[in-house]
């Protein structure tokens, strides 16, 4: 019985998150559209509201092309690896107090592990397609993942030190309910590093090198079409949501807000996540793209030293206070 309830919960979370992903694409297209003096989707439904559904149906019924030269099993597995790992990471996210599927003690580590595995899917996709652009895309992705997982992990060490836990719910609880006690203020350096690494980790502008359209056509997804392409797309957007959630949980106080919303406790959490996502989209509309070696330089020469400095300062602070 308990398993049934759990399965039901999992299905609910997945359905809700996938719906959000669908409308996140709408959200993104509308916002970028208005920033670029145009309307965005307008045709399907009122103000294009049904556009994501139309897109979903379209990609579902599109022909699934597998290149002859591709390594078929890996080619088929890559998008599944991406999507499944990203969905698995959803399990430990606390949407509100007690609203979490698996309240495990290593929540943060689990999410890191899952998002690293998703990059594995990207690399496999680049390699298995056996095409030149995808190969370059996969290569870039590999380098990018290695250089940005490290600062990302390091940037959250400060949070772990302050809260004394890896459990996401406990991290939120440790920040208290006041706006002044959230970790954004004591961990401002960590937040800065985390934010940049987050953009790189989700392959967003200005670090969208693995799929740099004007350089590598579409990078690692060049050879994918139809539903498999859509799976990568969904994985990318779920990835954005998960990292935005991590940012919310670790730095912005999670589900706590200025006042409690009755009947719908995750309200503040969702609002903060969408705040993050808006900034993602805003950045995409504003910034050009870094070059590959410049990206590496930022990761290794700027972010990692800053993250280490942050750990040192946090440790010093803790030692002095206690």
């Amino acid at each position: 019985m308990q398993i049934l309830i759990l399965l039901l919960q999992i299905a609910m979370v997945m359905a809700i998150v996938l719906l959000h992903v669908a409308y996140l694409t709408y959200f993104e297209r509308k916002i970028i559209g208005h920033m670029q003096v145009r309307m965005g989707p307008m045709r399907v439904g009122w103000h294009g509201l049904l556009q994501p559904i139309a897109d979903g149906i379209k990609s579902f019924f599109k022909e699934d092309i597998i290149p002859q030269q591709a390594d078929k099993p890996l080619f088929l597995a890559a998008p599944i690896i991406c999507l499944v790992t990203m969905l698995a990471a959803l399990a430990v996210l606390p949407f509100a107090e007690g609203w979490v599927l698996a309240d495990i003690n290593i929540g943060l580590l689990f999410i890191f592990a899952m998002s690293s595995l998703a990059s594995y899917g990207i690399i496999l996709a680049g390699w298995a397609s056996n095409s030149k652009y995808t190969f370059l895309g996969g290569m870039r992705s590999m380098a990018q993942v290695i250089s940005y997982e490290i600062p990302m992990g390091l940037s959250l060490v400060g949070v772990m030190m302050l809260s004394g836990s890896l459990n996401l719910s406990e991290i939120v609880a440790a920040q208290g309910t006041s706006i002044f006690s959230i970790y954004l203020f004591p961990q401002i350096i960590g937040f800065f590093v985390f934010f940049i690494a987050m953009l790189a980790e989700t392959n967003r502008v200005p670090f969208d090198l693995p799929e740099a359209e004007t350089e590598l056509v579409s990078g690692y997804i060049t050879e994918y079409s139809g539903m498999r392409y859509a799976m990568f797309f969904m994985a990318e957007y779920i990835g954005m949501m998960i990292l935005a959630s991590i940012g919310t949980v670790c730095f912005l106080g999670g589900w706590n807000g200025p006042f409690v919303i009755p009947f719908f406790p995750p309200f503040w959490f969702i609002l903060k996540v969408y705040g993050f996502l808006f900034v993602f989209i805003w950045i995409r509309a504003t910034l050009p793209r870094y070059r590959y070696d410049q990206l590496m330089a930022i990761g290794w020469k700027l972010l990692i030293p800053l993250a280490l400095l942050n750990i040192f300062l946090t440790g010093l602070f803790k030692a002095l206070v206690h």
């Binding site: 670029q36 390594d71 004007t214 910034l287 050009p288 793209r289």
Partner: protein
């Protein structure tokens, strides 16, 4: 039958340890159908070998079978971003060959449409160059202004892109008051828009990192590589045909030629941004000083049907078309050869004619800036990274329609 699948990207041993990538002709950032054969070492380009010809339509050969007047439509399809400038360039050359006079009003209109074409071409360049580097929003901002110009072209001659606006000896349609008013409004507003583009990208750290010091060309090298236009002026060579060998009414215009110093992608970018302002100035002068009078010379070959009274229309049996027939008593079938170059937005567009007196070019050669700029890519693109190559292709401002002809 089972299909074997391989996972090996071919990498040979030893000296030939190169990753070969044929970038294009259907690559999103090669501005049409340019193909660049690359030999890569990681992401660094060891050898860069541009291949052209995917858009070859044989204009130079085609022109030998058509009269001078008929060839105007071919020039639209050279640099389709700035068709007006090509029209003018072609007509200036033919008029020199056939010794046709152009009335002053037509000269001014020609300068006006040339500069409109320059702004519209540079807008498209800025849009795609920024998009290549990843700045998506500039693209749409530029198209907003370009739309105004294209609408003006449509009002002027009925066509947005392939204008065929000039005629031997003048222009086809007179500018109306409404066009002048709209152009005036555009000229007044445009400087603000230039500032807007600059705030979007010129103060952007990433933009500066991606352009400063990328693809530098020294002045000597730029001359050796036959670069012209803003690509040459970015390297610090002050050469602009509008200024040095004026045609149309450019000798009566007051404008500066912006010249860069460093010759890198950023210098060329700055050059073109300054040209926006200069072109805008020229447009303003055109509006203020547009002289009255006819728009077609008296002895211009008659192309507008019906013909003026008293003018004989001969039916050309070879071409089988009355539209193209020339004039009354004067013999325009001159012999000789002529090379005339004009400054189009991309650089120096030259037309070389050999005429044997048959009313058609015996040979027409087009010196197109894009062709030579693509040739320069092999030298400039060596040793840079893929992302830089994209920036360099963008900054050289090539159009394949003009390159392949």
């Amino acid at each position: 039958m089972t299909k074997t699948t391989t996972l090996d990207v071919q990498v040979a041993d030893g000296a030939d340890d190169k990753y070969r990538l044929k970038m294009g002709p259907q690559h999103p950032a090669t501005h049409g159908v340019l193909r660049v054969d690359l030999e890569l070492d990681g992401e660094t380009i060891d050898k860069c070998d541009p291949q052209v010809g995917y858009l070859h339509r044989g204009f130079e050969k085609l022109a030998e079978h058509r009269t001078y007047a008929q060839n105007i439509v071919l020039t639209d399809r050279l640099d389709y971003i700035a068709a007006m400038a090509n029209n003018v360039g072609y007509c200036v050359a033919v008029e020199k060959l056939l010794a046709i006079d152009v009335p002053p009003r037509a000269q001014f209109i020609r300068v006006m449409v040339c500069e409109m074409a320059r702004i519209s071409s540079h807008l498209l360049w800025l849009a795609t160059h920024a998009l290549d580097i990843g700045a998506m929003t500039v693209f749409l901002y530029c198209f907003r202004e370009r739309e105004v110009l294209l609408e003006l072209f449509a009002e002027l001659c009925g066509s947005r892109l392939t204008n065929t606006y000039t005629r031997l000896g003048g222009v086809r349609q007179d500018v109306t008051h409404s066009i002048m008013l709209k152009l005036q409004r555009f000229v007044d507003e445009f400087p603000d828009h230039i500032a807007e583009y600059e705030t979007l990208i010129d103060t952007n750290r990433i933009w500066l990192k991606r352009t400063i010091g990328i693809g530098p060309i020294s002045a000597d090298k730029a001359v050796d590589l036959c670069l012209t236009g803003p690509s040459l002026r970015g390297s610090g060579v002050d050469y602009d045909i509008r200024q040095h060998v004026p045609y149309a009414a450019y000798d009566q215009m007051d404008f500066e030629v912006p010249v860069g110093e460093t010759g890198d992608t950023y210098a060329r970018y700055r050059c073109r941004m300054e040209e926006f302002r200069q072109s805008n100035n020229i447009l303003r002068q055109c509006i203020e000083r547009m002289p009255p009078g006819p728009i077609l010379g008296k002895d211009a070959p008659d192309l507008i049907m019906p013909a003026k009274p008293g003018r004989k229309i001969e039916f050309d049996a070879v071409a089988g078309n009355a539209l193209i027939k020339l004039i009354d008593n004067r013999d325009l079938y001159m012999e000789g050869d002529v090379y005339v170059a004009t400054e189009v937005p991309k650089g120096e567009l030259g037309f070389y004619f050999i005429s044997d007196g048959m009313g058609r070019p015996y040979r027409m050669h087009i010196r197109s800036p894009s062709f030579l700029h693509i040739g320069a890519l092999a030298t400039i693109g060596q040793g840079v990274m893929i992302a830089d190559l994209i920036a360099i292709i963008g900054t050289l401002d090539v159009v394949l329609g003009e390159c392949d002809r």
